[in-house]
Amino acid sequence: MPRIKVARKSTAIDMTAMCDVAFLLLTFFILTATARQPEPLPVDTPASTVKFKLPDLDIATLTIGQKGKVFFGVPGQPIRKRTLELMGEKYQIQFTEEEKTRFSVIESFGVPIGNLKQIIMMKGDDRNKPGLQPGIPTDSVGLRPSELHDWIISARYATKELNNVDMRVSIKGDSREEYPSIKKILDILQDQNINKFSLITSLRTGEE
């Protein structure tokens, strides 16, 4: 009687399909990942237990750090362009088309408007050197509101014009920043009837 031979199966699995899927997903995630822009004013945000994610659009960010320095940024290139135009009208500064285009890719900046042209013409790496940009002036001069006030209001006009939504304001403060400098910004916002803002925090890891 012949012995029944059990056919020996190979233990190798065909991984081609799995490999395909893996690389497809990988490509997807790489392409959707947004490259992190270098920030001119690095801040260490305080932690909280809130789990609400910040929206991407139509929200301006005020970065506060290093003893009251304020940086301002709005998302969206057309909005940035329009904001600059509105600011130029207010302060009687003419911006060329090239300057507007260059400005529209700047994520966040913090210089008085008089020095804005210099900053616009700088290269990205030079622009983000720490300590170069002194922050947007927050003090009002006489009857004239502070430059930060004008920036915020111009950005609000621009957002309303182009996207027809109300711009929201978020505050990204450094955790070591003293309260009076935060209070000053809150007062500037409340002066233009913005009574609702988002405070940007990082996620608290673990319970203290």
Binding site: R8, K9, S10, T11, A12, I13, M15, T16, M18, C19, A22, F23, L25, L26, F29, I30, T32, A33, T34, R36, T45, P46, A47, S48, T49, V50, K51, F52, K53, L54, P55, I64, S170, K172, G173, D174, S175, R176, E177, E178, Y179, P180, I182, K183, L186, Q190, D191, N193, N195, K196, F197, S198, L199, I200, T201, S202, L203, R204, E207, E208
Partner: protein
């Protein structure tokens, strides 16, 4: 998981020398490993990089029809944020507080206990869940932004619905000075 060659070999009895057929399969295990590692990395970084936002609503500043609401003083708890990451709280008014002012810390063992206890006490005293505790937060000039966010976070954690950020007054500063948490 190396590939096993189970096709069997060396059975060429005919004496003919054949060049051995090479397998065209490549071991993909390492490649798949790497791909999944990178996927994990990108997945986690894209979702975690988004910052969290804590919404804060402040009352209108310069409304014409300012309404003065009178609230029972046993429902209000005032929290003063002082220097060195310390805070001080009391119930009632600053000149005649219903509980002696207490110095406390931020976090679970500090103010959160006091908040939860007081919230319960107030509801027990008023007998009406809609008339809960009202917290007044008064940040002093010595407090920093982290303290401010921490105390707002405590409000969320302890489910305090009514709280307001109020300007600190001189008697409050005097109280902080007396207890040594104001420079």
């Amino acid at each position: 998981m190396a590939e096993l060659d189970t096709s069997g070999g060396g059975k060429n009895k005919g004496g003919k020398i054949r060049s051995k057929k090479q397998s065209t399969r490549v071991d993909l295990t390492a490649m798949v490993d790497l791909a999944f590692l990178l996927i994990t990395f990108f997945m986690l970084t894209t979702t975690l990089a988004k910052p969290q936002a804590m919404d804060l609503a402040m009352p209108d500043k310069d409304k014409q029809d300012q309404q003065e609401l009178t609230i029972a003083d046993n429902r209000t708890m005032t929290i003063l944020l002082g220097a060195n990451n310390r805070l001080e709280w009391y119930i009632g008014l600053v000149d005649k507080p219903l509980t002696p002012p207490q110095i406390d810390n931020y976090g679970r063992n500090g103010i959160r206990k006091a908040l939860v206890e007081n919230a319960k006490k107030v509801i027990a005293a008023t007998g009406d869940p809609s008339k809960g505790l009202i917290v007044l937060i008064k940040p002093s000039e010595n407090s920093n932004y982290r303290n401010f966010v921490d105390i707002l976070d405590e409000m969320k954690v302890s489910n305090i619905e009514r709280y307001a950020i109020v300007e600190i007054s001189d008697p409050d500063i005097a109280l902080l000075k007396r207890d040594g948490i104001y420079k």
